[in-house]
C-alpha cells in the first residue's frame, strides 16, 4: 500500500533521511521507534507532503503510484493522513466546520457530490462517540485551548471522519494520560481494517500495548536499522537504543 524506497530528504541542505526503506501492506500496523533526532517526524512530514523538506532521491509510492509530485492536499485526497505531534490551533473555525470543509473538499477532488448535511451530522455523531468526544466540544474553535489529550483525541476523530488508506500517527501518545491513551488506542483499533494501514511513530512501548504492531522498526540516523515483531519494542523499552548503536558500530 505504502512503499518507501531509498528515501533521502533534507531541510535547508541538512540531510535528515538517508536511504530509508519501508513497505507497508494493507491491513498492517507498523511501529517506528528511535532516539530523538533520528528522523521520525521528518518521515511523517515528508510522506504528508510538507514543502519545507526536499526529497533529494528515492520514491514514495501509494498503491504503486509515485506521490512525490503531489501537494499535501492531493495526498490527503489519495488517502494519506497525518496525526500531528503538535496539532495547530485555528481560532475561529469550529471542529465541525473544519471537518465539513475537509470532507467536502476531498469529495470534490474525487469528483463526488458534497455529503448531504444529514449524513454528515450522522457521521460526526457516530465518530465523535467512538472517541468519546462531547458534542459541545465540536462547536469549539479547532484545537484552541484544547488540553494535550483533547488535541490528540481530536486528531484521531479527524482520522475517523476522513477514513484514510494510510494513517501516520506521529507521537500521538505524547501528552496523554492513561485514560486518554486508552480512548485514542481504542479508536485507532476500531478504525483498522484489512483495507487500510497504520504507521505509529512513538518513543514508548506503552502505546503499543494497546495498538499492537505487526512490525516494529528502529529508525536511527535517517535509516531503518533494525526491524522485528512486537517483541523488539519490548526489548527497546528494557534496554534503550544504545545496544543497537553498538551493534551498528560492530
Amino acid at each position: 500500500m505504502l512503499e518507501i524506497k531509498d528515501l533521502h530528504a533534507s531541510i535547508e541542505d541538512k540531510a535528515i533521511l538517508k536511504g530509508l526503506n519501508l513497505n507497508v501492506k494493507a491491513g498492517e500496523v507498523h511501529a517506528i521507534m528511535g532516539p530523538n533526532g533520528a528522523g521520525k517526524s521528518t518521515l511523517a512530514s515528508v510522506v504528508a507532503g510538507k514543502e519545507e523538506y526536499e526529497v533529494t532521491s528515492g520514491k514514495i509510492l501509494l498503491d504503486g503510484n509515485d506521490i512525490e509530485e503531489l501537494s499535501a492536499e492531493e495526498r490527503a485526497h489519495q488517502g494519506v493522513f497525518l496525526s500531528f505531534q503538535y496539532p495547530v490551533e485555528i481560532p475561529g473555525v469550529s471542529v465541525t466546520n473544519f471537518m465539513k470543509t475537509a470532507i467536502n473538499e476531498t469529495r470534490k477532488a474525487r469528483g463526488q457530490e458534497e455529503m448531504p448535511a444529514r449524513d454528515m451530522l450522522k457521521k460526526i455523531k457516530e465518530k465523535s462517540e467512538l472517541l468519546e468526544i462531547d458534542s459541545k466540544f465540536l462547536s469549539r474553535s479547532l484545537n484552541e485551548g484544547f488540553s494535550g489529550g483533547e488535541k490528540k483525541r481530536n486528531e484521531i476523530f479527524q482520522m475517523a471522519m476522513l477514513e484514510p488508506k494510510v494513517a501516520i500517527l506521529d507521537e500521538t501518545d505524547s501528552g496523554l494520560d492513561i485514560d486518554a491513551l486508552r480512548i485514542v488506542a481504542n479508536g485507532v483499533n476500531k478504525l483498522k481494517s484489512k483495507d487500510n494501514a497504520v504507521i505509529v511513530i512513538t518513543h514508548y512501548q506503552r502505546l503499543l500495548d494497546y495498538i499492537v504492531p505487526d512490525f516494529v522498526h528502529v529508525l536511527h540516523n535517517g535509516k531503518i536499522v533494525k526491524s522485528g515483531d512486537k517483541n523488539l519494542a519490548l526489548e527497546l523499552e528494557e534496554k534503550g537504543y544504545d545496544w543497537i548503536k553498538e551493534e551498528l558500530k560492530a
Partner: protein
Amino acid sequence: MELKEKLVSSFLAFESTVDTTNSTHDIRSEAIKFFEIYGFPTKKNEAWKYTSLNNILKQDFILFPKNEVALEYKDVKKYFINDLDSYKIVFIDGVYSSHLSSTTHDKIDVCLMSSALTQNRFKQVIDVYYNTIVKEDGMTALNTAYAKEGAYIYIPKNTIADKPIEVVHFSTGSNGTLLCQPRNLIVVEDRSQVTIVERHQNLSTEKAFTNSVTEIYAGKNANIDYYKIQNDTKLSSLVDNTFVEQHDTSVASVHTFAFGGEITRNNLNFYQKGQGIDSILNGVTILEGKTHVDHNTLVEHQEPNCESHQDYKGIFDDKATGVFNGKIIVDQIAQKTNAFQSNNNILLSDKATVNSKPQLEIFADDVKCSHGCTIGQLDESALFYMRSRGIATKEAKALLMYAFANNVLESVKIPQLKKRINNLIAEKLGVSIGFDL
C-alpha cells in the same frame, strides 16, 4: 481654480438656494470661514500623515447635481440587504429618492435632513443637537457649510425602533464627477434603541468623492448599533466623519466593513459623557489592488466607570495600504476606566503596507487600558495542517482569513447582514465556503 477656492466662492450661490433666515444660517457662515482658514488637511497634519487627499482634490468636482436621476429598485436591489424588512433613506447623487425610500413619522422620525433643517416641528431637536457633537476641522467645517441633505433619525424616549434603518447613497455619474456631502443626525433618547446600516455605492465609471458627517447622540441607557459597509468601486473615495456622544449606561457600537474604494478615511470619535458607558468600535478591512483605508479612531473617557472596546482586523493584498490610528484619552476624573484596543493585520503581498499607531493619553491612575497591534502573514503551519486534511491552499487561506476576522463578524447582530458580509468576503477571496461562520 483650486477646489478650495471654488468651494469658498460657491458658498454664496449655495446660500441663495437655502433659507437664510433659518437658525442654521449662522452655523453655515461660521463653518465656511473656518474652512477658508484651515482648508483641506495635508500630510503636515499629524493625523493625516499617512493619507493624502491631493490626488482626489485635483479633480474638478461638480458641487450641485443638475440632473435628477431615477433608479429602478430592481437595478439596485442588490445593494440593500436581502430579505430585510427595513426603513430606507436613499439618495441618488445627493438628492433624496422618495421612490426608493421608506420613511416614517410613526412614533419615531426616519426622514430627511432637509426636512429637519427647514420644518418647524423638528426645530426643537435641531436646536438642541444639530452641530453640537461634531468637532470642527477642515473637512467637517466644509460639510457643515454645505449641509443640506442626509438622514435624520430621531428615536424619542423609551422607544425601540421597530425595524433597522438602511441609509444608502448612490452616485450615478449622470451629474459628472460629484462631490457629495451628506449630513446625518441620529438622536436616540433615554432608554431607546436603533440599528442603522449605511452604505455608499458608485454605480458608474465616474469618480466620486463623499465627505460625510454623522452626529450620533445616545441618551441614558440608549442602545445604538451602527454598521458601515464600505465596498465601493476603485474610483470612489470617502471621508467619513462620525461623532458619537454617549450618556449614562448607554451602549453604542460602530462596525466598519472596509472592502473597497480608492481612498477611505474613517474618522470615528466617541465622547463618553456619563458613567457605565460601553463604546464598541469594530472593523474588518479587506483590500487589494491600489486601495487605501485609514481608520482614525478616538475614544474620550470623560467620566468614571466606563468601557471601550476597539477591535480592528485588516487583510491587505497587492499594493493596498492600511492605516490604523487609535487614540484613547482617559481624563483625570475617569477612574475605573476599562479601555481595550487591538489592531491585527495580515499582509498577503510584500508590496502591501500597514501603519498601525496606538495613542494612549491617560491622566487617571486607577484604570485598565491595553492596546496591541500585530502585522504578520498567514500562519504557514496552520495552512499545512489544513492542507493535510484535504483543504486546497486557496480555500485554506480563505478559511484562515475568515477565522481571523471572525470575532468581529460575530458581533454583527442582523443575521441577513452577517450573511451578506460573509458573501462579500467569499466573493473577494474568490472561494465558496460551505458554511456561514
